[in-house]
Subunit: 291 residues, 4 copies
């Protein structure tokens, strides 16, 4: 990164806050807006600035991991004023290099974003692999929080053997749980067996009565009415798949099956680590694309 | 247990509630009081009874793990009326076999308890060893809750290598933490080294700057002003030792060092497992003493 | 397997011997030849038969995992007579279903094998994934045998993060070794890091001085003169890659670097498990192809 | 160690050889005898000397871990001449500080040894705890060598939960074995359960049919005729207890039960580590006793 550029951080949660600190520690010049309500981080006072100043002073703009939820304003939970996603903002962003996650949300807010230089780190392999660990630890956290017994010795089902499934399964195993894993790909099933877990073809998943804890990582309906009707009262279902998840939450709620739709765990549970992963991805993009 | 006796449960938290269910599942007749505010456990309605009835109908009386905190009433967080520890209660308890933890609290409340048949399970080896695991999982839960980074790769210090220290150290290790353990006994230090952790003689513990997470299990002052003054701002101290703990909490608070005095973790985090351990101890006492 | 067929086993080592026992236990009729020198397995006496009889009585013929080494006779280490790979054998094999590993060796011996129904299990994914574990245990066995120190705490390098690399790395890690892994694929390197090992891009592998034990799983030259010249005297290189391996064995020998080219570990170290994996693959082929 | 003294090493196996190298590396002056047949260690040529010279030039004399087996000569497997344990040797040893293991063997050879300054490291706690790991790894080595299947998934019994039992059990567990442990002490049985293994009171050990691998660490008869008569043909018994072990080897041999009496594993399998442990103990003795 020869031509040192300045970073402007616009909105976001604790992750963007930690990110700003890390960038400063790495020697970058950083300005931030959208965090006025955070008094506790008084040491950030000197880098607060207005959106306008940020846009004129910095070349790299960092939006939140989920840049917007209402498609009208930038997500800024620590701010009470709105950062509007309008043509004025688009104009300010011209010639900037914009880093964010889930760029589709920006496109949906305003088509003109497609003309800007947006670098979405959230679909990168490094971002996804590195997030598997914080997500798995977050899932363990929720299990420890919600379950009335010790994890040690419990019967767990992990649905899906992708990135999160792999790391979570290993973690549950070292915790002393008996772990079954459901998957569809034959190589996944062979690996599950080789690693010492009980493999189940997803198609054969028709009774979940024996499981104390169920972790879903698959982003489509797995735990439907039929399957949920076989589970025992004490079972806890922790669904890690992005909306709408893989569980019939309505049926579960009516039948008093405890479910937790645990989204965005890295950001909520381990914002520092989440920020570090974002930083690494941003640096990698800058390096790879010579920005 | 040939001469099947009936159990009466007087007060306590979720542990005694789970305990009542387990005893019923095992075929015992059980009556409980001190849980009126718990509507959610409607299936227990038929075993609720008055203290008076319980005393006349049951031979085994089970008090809470910590039977009293104010030395005047039995601990009963799910009740709004008071179960007084007075001579009337003492009279009712004559000829009963009383199971509880920390009997000293009862003695302190009323000397006459010393004349009753009190079986304190809390000082038994089985109770203490079995509680190491839920305590260790509870400590991990708190670490996951409070720490902004993933545990994986963090630098941890465990102070003390007794029951809890041993289990917690192993658990942190399987989580991928770098674990140092401080102890005094030379055989403990040799074992710590043999098991692959970094041993530190407690006397040589004079700088804790490198640790992200510190777990204290030693019930006397270890983390005093001098030692705390060497720790970095982000460090979290989780003190598992019973009151007053092993940390100068006041100094820590003034200097914004994050401390959590985590007491009674098995009861709070894993009440079902805690109840099961109590049940096993009670059964063992009945068997051993032919009650 | 509706139309129960009979198995004839022709040559091979302990694996085919265990295989014959397993098939019998599963209720199949089995005949074997090429094991005359094995007196210790007297219970197999009744299934020994002549090649001719086997060919007339059985429909499934099982050759060795490596069917031939001299391209003239079937590998039969427990026999002193030769089973020739000639046109006579080819004729006898017509209409048979032949199971074996490495069919290319048969093709090279006699082109006419290409006209026969050969089912090579050795290139199947299940066979390869299931063999990763016995290979990894075999590698640990060799390390324990050759190394003068305990594995615990040793510095290990695993070259390659394929099937064997993944299982071996995990096993070394649970043994308490410090494990570095070299690979080329960026997703492999990301996973190596995520799982807690030290990732090294193969291109950056230019000094191996710090490693006590090196395990190569990559089937092309990695440990060449230049790299070997950087290793210390005590280092042991265990090369698991099939011939010619990934090590300059000649250079190593001249320079007194201890190398072991460990081939066919599952067959040598754990013939029972190896046989079981073959059996599972054969059954799977029969099921999938409706043989 | 202010007044630097010189070390003389008299006999022993590879351990004493490695020990001599380590002492030299630590800056000590070392002379050795009883290794004439070892040509491979040519770099030791310059420290070879006669017994007589060693006795006149060095103050610390190091004998083997097992100083004698015939009670007439010092154990010196790498020598073809005899180092006699006679009064002449005793005379030479006066005023020396003698380090060795199992001093009883010396006392039995010649009563006058009792008048010499013998420092036996083999009964020290550090020596015994540190040797648990190499012994456990050695036991795994033998299991991998002798067993026809992978260890992963095997049913193992460990008899005894002392130092070696503890480390071996953990190692088998991380290998993916199902581990049962027999012991007598109630606290051991509670710990075995807490750590996730199956506890068996030694008195209840009356059928061993289900075990593939049995490891004995208890130095008295456990696996007697009655118990051995229940084991299956394939079972392998690895007895780690010092002579006469805890197995009826004669009965086992007659009944073709495979047994291995594995003695002195640290010295045989990991002589370097064994030497390092000896060195640490010797240094500790010198420090503690101000020698």
């Amino acid at each position: 990164m020869n031509n040192m550029k300045n970073f402007g951080i616009v909105g976001g949660d604790k992750r963007n806050l930690f990110l700003s600190k890390m960038l400063i520690e790495d020697g970058y010049s950083v300005k931030i807006c959208g965090f006025e309500n955070l008094n506790s981080y008084s040491d950030l006072n000197k880098i607060y600035d207005s959106l306008k100043n940020i846009m004129s002073d910095t070349e790299y703009i960092i939006f939140p991991v989920v840049p917007t939820s209402d498609y009208k304003t930038v997500n800024a939970p620590f701010s009470s004023s709105n950062i509007l996603i309008d043509d004025k903002l688009i104009n300010l962003l011209e010639n900037k290099i914009i880093f964010c996650g889930k760029k589709e949300a920006l496109y949906k807010s305003n088509e003109n974003f497609k003309n800007l230089k947006i670098k979405d780190y959230s679909s990168r392999e490094d971002f996804m692999i590195f997030n598997a660990r914080p997500t798995a630890e977050g899932a363990i956290y929720i299990a420890l929080k919600e379950y009335d017994k010790i994890l040690f010795g419990s019967n767990c089902l992990v649905s899906g053997f992708g990135r999160i499934g792999k790391v979570l399964t290993k973690l549950l195993n070292t915790f002393g749980c008996n772990v079954s894993v459901s998957a569809r790909k034959s190589s996944d099933l062979l690996w599950i067996e080789t690693l010492g877990y009980t493999p189940i073809h997803t198609n054969n998943l028709n009774n979940i009565e024996k499981y104390d804890l169920i972790f879903n990582t698959v982003p489509y309906m797995i735990f439907d009415k039929t399957l949920l009707s076989t589970c025992k009262k004490e079972t806890i279902i922790i669904d890690l798949a992005s909306k709408p998840g893989g569980t019939d939450f309505e049926y579960a709620s009516i039948n008093k099956i405890k479910t937790i739709h645990a989204l965005g765990l890295p950001g909520k549970n381990t914002p520092y680590t989440a920020a570090k992963i974002i930083k690494k991805s941003i640096y990698k993009i800058i390096e790879e694309e010579n920005l």
